[in-house]
């Protein structure tokens, strides 16, 4: 059974990606199970989706913990442990990452020896960081890597799953996706299904008796001040507002007042400063700035500092 996991952000089409790949496998005669997984829905939030494909009946369900292929559509997720990008990797797992960085770079960053295939960001100058075609492109690349899906089947699956798109958008998706498929030809068939493990190779289950705790601890509530400061909502951003101080007229209040998260402050010189640890990338400041001094720029795929370990994190 093929087990394939897509990671991206809400709005990047990971659900669509899993549907395209699922449909492509299905059209090739496989049994298929595909599904997205997310929490409270929010644009920019890390989400993942998965595809199982097999010639046998698929009885397993839910999160794929031991993937054969992991696709990372947005490499900024590699910095966020809760995104769970590297959960369940073993030597057999192949990674496909959309990134401007090299495979060696990511092997070192993630501290893994896995085969990593880089899919270059296919649009150099992006007008929207959400890159609406990215899901389709990732699905197409994955289809080629499996070696099970022909180019024509992929095209059929793309047309089926993207049938709601307008012609222009559909054409763009098809062009980019089929190019991505072709670009993977050198690695065609590199992803293979894992063999069944004998029972004794599974990790032992370490059940515990959950202890009785006083209600002061065991009620699911938070009683602490300033907890919102702990939430680094800057990781939600797909677009970044950048102030051009040559254009900023120093009005000092419009952007900072409109910011719904109070993350624009005004410094001693009367110039606004954005707290990127907290800015969610809503772009309201961009719209409100009277001299249009704030640009909306796609989040670069520059990895920031590695801040927490990924051990023990479930996707």
């Amino acid at each position: 059974m093929y087990q394939i996991r897509f990671h991206g952000r809400g709005g990047q089409g990971m659900k669509t990606a899993s549907h395209i790949l699922g449909t492509a496998f299905f059209l090739e005669g496989f049994n298929v199970q595909d599904a997205p997984r997310y929490g409270a829905e929010r644009r920019g939030a890390p989400i993942f989706a998965y595809v199982r494909a097999s010639h046998e009946t698929i009885n397993d369900r839910g999160i794929i913990l031991h993937p054969d292929l992991v696709i990372v559509a947005d490499d900024s997720l590699a910095m966020i442990p809760t995104a769970g990008v590297s959960v369940g990797l073993d030597a057999h797992t192949v990674l496909l990452m959309v990134s401007r960085h090299s495979a060696e770079y990511w092997q070192s960053y993630l501290d893994v020896k896995n085969k990593i295939i880089i899919l270059s960001p296919f649009v150099e100058k992006v007008d929207s960081a959400l890159r609406p075609e990215i899901g389709a492109v990732c699905a197409a690349a994955a289809a080629c890597l499996s070696g099970e899906i022909s180019r024509s089947t992929l095209e059929k699956a793309l047309r089926e799953e993207l049938s709601d798109l307008k012609q222009e958008s559909l054409t763009k998706n098809l062009d980019l996706s089929l190019n991505a498929y072709d670009s993977m030809n050198g690695n065609k068939g590199i992803v293979t299904p894992k063999k069944d493990r004998p029972l004794d190779e599974y990790t032992a289950v370490d059940w515990i008796d959950v202890p009785f705790d006083q209600a002061s601890i065991s009620a699911p509530s938070i009683h602490a001040p300033l907890t919102s400061l702990l939430a680094n909502t800057g990781t939600w951003r797909t677009m970044k507002p950048i102030i051009d101080y040559d254009k900023c007229n120093g009005c000092h209040w419009v952007c900072s007042t409109y910011c719904p998260d109070s993350c624009i402050s005004v410094d001693d010189e009367g110039l606004p400063q954005i707290d990127y640890d907290k800015c969610k990338g809503c772009m309201i400041c961009v719209v409100q700035c009277p001299p249009n001094a704030i640009d909306a720029v796609a989040e670069t795929d520059e990895p920031g500092k590695k801040n927490t370990q990924t051990k023990g994190v479930s996707p």
């Binding site: 009885n59 369900r61 839910g62 966020i80 907890t227 500092k305 590695k306």
Partner: protein
């Protein structure tokens, strides 16, 4: 016949469409909304001749569903979790009216704390309402059960509303290959709804009401509802048989897998049953005599079929994806009452509670359950009820509690904190002598 990929929600909507539901009172809730969206698109596009009304709450939605059903139209509706609870008063009422309609419930754990993911406490809250319950394990199952449910609810011997239950996420948003039956054959199978004496025509006004009654008539009418539910067992079997003849898929009230020669048997319901099936396959390969008993009907409760299937088994492990607070697993409790005093009842009846709030049950936990059952068979001692919960999970919870300032972090390694809200910071918490808490924040790097 060819198959298509459908989500559980899509399969549920197809069931309502093929059954030619006339009326759908609706109210959205995650993870059910896609059912309503799908139906509404079909209605707008002219693919489905049906009236949909978006109501102001699930309580109104259920009232409208019951009221419409007793005026002679075929009704479908859908909800989940908090929505089902909000409608609870009308679940009892509409079942008491003997209003025949079908409702999909997309199972989701109940608040608080809040979750979007699946467990069965929502549907089990409806257990005693008079609604019959069919529990699905696959997307095909959902479509087919919806069709069967219409036959069951409209059968003059039964005339009780039916819930078709599907698990959130694990089925609702999961696509699987589904065969959509031919419309004509479905029409032959279900046929038009004959409401008998429950009719309403605008130009022939009639009064229709439920009386306020004392204990004696109340007892009679409530008990008649119970008898109708019990009768539904036999009616269900007939319908399932007919369905199998027509469509080639058989849905007995309980499904047994590798049970005949099994020593140890898993008992459970819902989508995780297929995971248990996979575990059975692997355990069988390793030479272990293990089987699965999956409930499809929970109400009415197929007690006879269950005790027959479990007769002379050595050990049974009930996996409850629910918890009756202060008692334990609901399925375990019910099974104990069904087996008690029966000849050949299994000596060991062990309770496992798992999969609460969407928590996965990985295959190795099924293996461990079998180990536990085999050990119990040897010693003859039934193990204590067990929550499927690992030491690593406990550690994660302790970290969350540390963030919430509930416990000191002296024993907690906060560098591996796993929470969507804490990405770059860890917390040092100290509790001073006045028991006030103070928090400082630092970057981990």
């Amino acid at each position: 016949m060819s198959k298509v990929l459908l989500t559980g929600n899509g399969a549920s909507a197809w069931g309502a469409r093929l059954a030619r539901a006339d009326y759908v009172p609706a109210f959205p809730i995650t993870p059910q909304t896609e059912i309503i969206e799908t139906l509404s698109k079909w209605i707008v596009d002219g693919d489905m001749d049906c009236r949909m009304v978006n109501m102001d709450s699930e309580h109104s939605m259920l009232t409208a569903a019951g009221a419409a059903a007793v005026t002679g139209v075929r009704v479908f509706t859908a909800t989940s979790s908090q929505g089902l609870l909000y409608a609870m008063e009308m679940l009892y009422s509409t079942a008491g009216w003997r209003a025949p309609f079908v409702m999909a419930n997309v199972s989701r754990g109940l608040s608080a704390p809040i979750t979007l993911e699946s467990d069965h406490n929502d549907i089990l809250a409806a257990r005693d309402s008079g609604f019959l319950q069919i529990h699905c394990a696959t997307c095909q199952d959902i479509l087919d059960s919806t069709l069967i449910a219409y036959r069951l609810t409209e059968d003059p011997r039964v005339r009780l509303p039916v819930i078709v239950n599907l698990d959130g996420f694990y089925l609702s948003f999961t696509r699987e290959p589904v065969e959509i039956p031919d419309t004509k054959r479905v029409d032959e199978f279900i046929g038009p709804y004959d409401p008998e004496n429950e009719r309403f025509t605008a130009n022939v006004p009639v009064s229709q009401a439920v009386a306020v009654l004392g204990g004696t008539p109340y007892s009679y009418f409530r008990y008649e509802t119970h008898l109708a539910a019990q009768k539904a067992l036999e009616v269900y079997d007939e319908i399932a048989e007919e369905f199998a003849e027509k469509f080639g898929r058989h849905y007995p009230s309980i499904e047994t897998y590798q049970c005949d020669d099994a020593d140890s048997v898993f008992v459970m319901m819902g989508s995780f049953s297929t995971k248990a099936k996979e575990a059975v396959n692997q355990l069988r390969k390793a030479g272990k005599k293990v089987g699965l008993l999956q409930y499809r009907l929970l109400r009415p409760y197929p007690a006879k079929a269950i005790s027959h299937a479990l007769k002379n088994k050595k050990a049974v492990g009930v996996i409850d994806q629910n918890i009756s607070i202060g008692k334990g697993g609901v399925l375990h409790t019910e099974l104990a009452s069904a087996l008690y005093g029966q000849t050949g009842a299994p000596r060991i009846l062990a309770s496992f509670i798992g999969g609460l709030g969407g928590r996965d049950i990985p295959i190795q936990e099924f293996f461990k359950i079998v180990d536990t059952l085999e050990e119990a068979t040897k010693t003859g001692i039934t193990p204590e009820p067990r929550l499927l919960f690992t030491s690593q999970e406990m550690e994660e919870v302790r970290k969350l509690q540390a963030i919430a300032n509930q416990i000191p972090t002296t024993t907690i390694d906060t560098t591996t904190i796993d929470t969507a809200t804490v990405d770059t910071a860890t917390i040092d918490t100290t509790i001073d002598s006045n028991n006030k808490t103070s928090t400082t924040q630092r970057s981990t790097d």
